[in-house]
Symmetry: C2
Subunit: 428 residues, 2 copies
């Protein structure tokens, strides 16, 4: 298991943020989502220090859908990051956590009328439009209060990437955004939508992308497009938002971009294309979500049972697809370790299966671990993104707690659900 | 769209349980899970009337993981059904709804210590053991309070079925249960576990099975096994629990068993094998979940936007993979209709996409519908099972409400979540 951030092994035990995993388990129970605050801080600084240019402003926008809670929102705020929300609910969490709505980008392919109203009421800085229907409805809402709204438009530069079809977004039949051609038509329509203050385009080529060339191709296509638009429409485009999708490490096969080098090179490429195509853009934004958070989340489980089987032993944990859907949904691969026995030889083949009543609820198909015992702690690293955020109460299992650790201190960010929580909205 | 239960079209509009879908939308908003109480009543009666024998008792056990709420639990109770729970949470819901715990079967491959303690404390009628570890822990818990617990043991008769690998459970590497051979060893161990009152075996061959032969093969294998066990161990096996998995209709390709005929034939087959193998069993149980509920759940959405695309138009709804995960998770197929325009010609090709910020969030890839308008109501039938029960707050979207309809009346069973619900467990 690769150790990220402040994770270390002390006395044969996994320690995160200076806190022993045994302490975390005892204090908060399992399943437990543990976040390494220092790790996140450092990653944010890497983004801020290396995605920086002398020729244009840069903006790091955290994609909240990867994982969002108030404690994290406050951390983002202290770093002066912007925030990408994709629903009224995410906007609500951000606002409730004291985040300046001016620094929020509201994304999504199908914002409801109520969500658009909510965004306008809360003075969200930028709404990223997906389609003409949305633009028309937003303009109507704005006209009622005689407001003007800063907007971007999502376009698809149609770049093929080699990622799971569910997380590849920038192709022809994508539900998101518009083709360049459709976008040009849209700009014609903009004249009729006088409450929209159009400031540029957003694009996003997918998720878990390990190949810098895809980003450089995207940059070229977008800047070329900006150049065309500037010529044709005589529009001042303040911002170019290039989305995210920077791949992260889950298991041995994954080779993420070395972030500092990649960001430096990305900036060079952007500066060069801007010069070459002679476009005038004030701000270039990127939207890391998973890449900012994933390395620094570790899920802790209790080993409930060990069960012999023909090809391996089953290591049965007290969680499953309700707290981490990714193996079932995307066939995502993870690694794991026995947090209370980190140094022992890995002698035994295990299949790690969850407790949900469904055959597909297998967290790791095959892994070699030290011989495990009931009540051992299983640590699954690289689970910061798209785990807690996708959690459900399937099988009526209460969702786990979220704790941040830093310099030996713990901060409970989200309490474990109780059985009572499961029936809170039932009408008796 | 096939109309199940009380669903009908009146004045061009879909009406369920005598209530117009426009009324439901107005009163409860969307997305809304609508359940047809009469349909469920009738289906329960079909199971009760046709799974009946002169030679043994029968027991219909509803598999709560398909969908569970207090209102439904009370309906099951009034029909004197038993209930299959798979977690402490499901047990809690059942108990809280006044269900007699004596009629509960506690399933699952990895029950935690706390769950086993909870089940013992609440006097759950039957615990279905999965493995020796669980049996040993349960016996220890029981010894503390000097109680005896009625138990079954889950075995795998290894029957190959042609369903999705995630929902096929009865093969060699399944995380559930034991092989026959392992079960025989287990019976040897039972002598040391004096607080367990072993009453028989449980098996379950998978889900969405359309082939009666799989069930008849399962019945033969199990009865043959009972005969072997009775001879070898001189054990009185009271109950044979054959699980569920009866396939339901989602779209045109699906051909569910004609239930009355199938159940009649199933009983004949069971009676014959029991005679042939001369086994002595008091009760045979089956566990319908999806097949009892799925036809009678309809999800209503609002059409937020319509967006042109090259091969079809996108019909963008106010829900998605957070309220119905099955298309993303299992590539499940659904049909749909415009609930406020049921009779018009289907002229237009749509892709129905959800509002979640993920390319995979597509509910129906391609469907012909009447030309749709913004604020139309989209009805997706056959969504009673594994929709609400798997719902999440992914993208921080509040979960939808659940309403039961019957004879023109509505009963709100689960209230829609609010934005406040999203942060209820956050620590500020």
């Amino acid at each position: 298991m690769r150790l990220f951030g402040t994770s270390e092994v002390i006395d044969n035990e996994l320690v995160i943020g200076g806190v022993a995993t045994s302490t975390l388990k005892e204090k908060y129970g399992t399943p437990l989502y543990v976040f390494d605050e220092t790790g996140i801080d450092e990653k944010i600084n890497t983004f801020k220090n290396h995605f920086k240019s002398r020729f244009f402003n840069t903006n790091i926008i955290y994609a909240g859908k990867a994982f969002l809670c108030s404690y994290l929102v406050k951390q983002l705020k202290s770093h002066q990051l912007s925030l990408d929300v994709v629903s009224g609910g995410e906007l609500f969490v951000a606002k409730h956590s004291g985040f300046d709505t001016e620094n929020i980008y509201f994304h999504g392919n199908a914002k409801t009328y109520e969500e658009l109203e909510f965004a306008v009421r809360e003075n969200v800085g930028t709404i990223v439009l997906d389609n003409l229907s949305e633009a028309t409805i937003l303009n109507n809402i704005l006209s009622k209060s005689n407001k003007t709204q800063r907007v971007l438009l999502r376009v698809n530069p149609t770049i093929e990437t080699d990622t799971h079809k569910y997380i590849q977004t920038s192709n022809d039949d994508s539900k998101f955004g518009m083709t360049f051609q459709e976008a040009l038509q849209f700009l014609e329509e903009l004249n009729h939508l006088s409450h929209l203050d159009f400031k540029g385009f957003h694009c996003h080529i997918g998720s878990q992308i390990f190949d810098s060339k895809s980003y450089f191709t995207e940059a070229k296509r977008m800047i070329e497009f900006y150049s065309d638009v500037q010529k044709e429409f005589n529009l001042k485009l303040d911002e170019l938002n290039l989305g995210g999708g920077f791949g992260v490490y889950y298991t041995k096969g994954d080779q993420p971009l070395q972030l500092e080098n990649f960001l430096n090179e990305y900036i060079d490429v952007l500066e060069n294309y801007i010069r070459e195509y002679d476009i005038d853009v004030e701000t270039i934004s990127i939207e890391p979500g998973r890449s900012l958070i994933n390395d620094f989340g570790t899920t802790l489980y209790n080993v409930s049972h060990i069960k012999p089987s023909s090809h391996f032993d089953f290591l049965l944990i007290d969680g499953g697809m309700n707290d981490n859907l990714r193996p079932s949904l995307y066939e995502a691969k993870y690694t794991a370790a026995i947090a209370n026995n980190m140094n022992a030889n890995k002698t035994t083949d295990y299949r790690i299966a969850g407790k949900l009543c469904e055959s597909g609820d297998v967290l790791i198909e095959n892994i070699k671990l030290p011989k495990a015992n009931i009540n051992d702690t299983l640590a699954v690293p690289s689970t910061g993104a798209y785990t807690e955020s996708m959690a459900s109460n399937y099988n009526k299992i209460p969702r786990g707690a979220v704790v941040f650790v830093k310099d030996g201190d713990t901060h409970l960010a989200v309490e474990r659900e109780t059985y009572e929580d499961l029936i809170r909205n039932e009408v008796f």
